[in-house]
């Protein structure tokens, strides 16, 4: 199966890295540079924001574990394997940023579980793994979309939107790899 039908995988990876790296580093700088807005919020607002961030962190940590299962399954061939590892690295970057932000707000970040449950018995080939990953990424896009309007701190909404954009790109690339329309609609929900 051709991984990317529109562009070469190497070119797509370069483009993906350039764009997502720039967006995420911008969000990270805004959050970690000690913005006054983070410090100025009331206790209730901070607690609410920490709760939202912790749910996102838990999902990111699970995504990292899911990609690890895919990478170790021996079902992925290059360049798909490389891309899966790259996506996993970006989920790790999201998790790192979320963890640091939670600490900055005075919260206690969620930890990775000792063991995750995944439907490994249903993953028989590369296509199965890609479909599973695409489902997780689609869900992640929806989860961030549902979180963006909830933050009391607008900078956190911006950071969540930045992560949403990255995960939407993951989803699109995975849909392309599966042979589905990578961008099936004008809006996500």
């Amino acid at each position: 199966m051709s991984f990317l039908k529109i562009s070469s995988p190497a070119a797509a990876r370069r483009l993906f890295l350039a764009r997502s790296g720039a967006a995420l580093s911008g969000a990270a700088v805004a959050l970690l540079a000690g913005r006054e807005a983070l410090a100025a919020k009331s206790g209730d607002s901070k607690a609410g924001d920490v709760r939202i961030l912790n749910t996102a962190l838990a999902a990111e940590l699970e995504a990292v574990a899911a990609y690890q299962v895919g990478a170790e399954s021996n079902l992925l061939q290059k360049p798909v394997l490389d891309l899966a590892v790259q996506f996993q690295g970006q989920h790790k970057a999201h998790a790192d940023l979320l963890e640091k932000t939670i600490r900055k707000l005075g919260g206690k970040p969620a930890s990775a579980k000792a063991k995750y449950s995944f439907p490994v018995e249903t993953l028989k080939n590369q296509l199965d793994v890609l479909r599973f990953a695409a489902g997780l990424e689609q869900g992640a896009v929806s989860a961030y979309l549902g979180a963006v309007p909830l933050f009391a701190t607008r900078d956190l909404s911006k950071a969540a939107a930045s992560i949403l954009g990255d995960e939407a790109m993951h989803w699109a690339v995975l849909r392309q790899a599966i042979g589905e329309n990578p961008v099936p609609a004008a809006f996500v929900s």
Partner: protein, 119 residues
């Protein structure tokens, strides 16, 4: 009048096929048959909130006193964080009543599936 009755009937019944598409939004945190960031959905209807053994619920959910049925799910899914303040389901909700009805119809149908019954 007839249109209003038809709309009410559609909302009451829900379309599980469309609900399956809506359920894709839940897949960052939930699965039918196993616990993830959120608890499993097999057996959801009729279950007391916060009662899946071994799952680490928020205190708010454990204390909510909710029993999940079509009515309570509809209310929660419309606005989770205001329905159960302190819930870990930090999600804005599904504002469209028909989409909620379809999602609940899917969850009900999935609960009767072979996969769920085997759990």
């Amino acid at each position: 009048m007839i249109e209003a009755v038809a709309l009410a009937a559609a909302l009451a019944a829900g379309d599980p096929q469309h609900g399956k598409e809506i359920y894709a939004r839940c897949l960052a945190c939930h699965a039918l048959a196993y616990d993830r960031v959120g608890p499993r959905h097999c057996g959801l209807l009729g279950r007391r909130a916060g009662s899946v053994p071994g799952f680490a619920y928020s205190g708010a959910m454990k204390k909510s006193g909710i029993v999940w049925n079509k009515k309570t799910l509809d209310r929660f899914l419309a606005d989770p964080m205001h329905t159960v303040p302190g819930t870990a389901m930090t999600y804005a909700g599904v504002p469209d009543a028909q989409e909620r009805a379809d999602l609940i119809a899917f969850l009900a149908a999935a609960g009767e599936s072979v996969d769920c019954r085997a759990r």
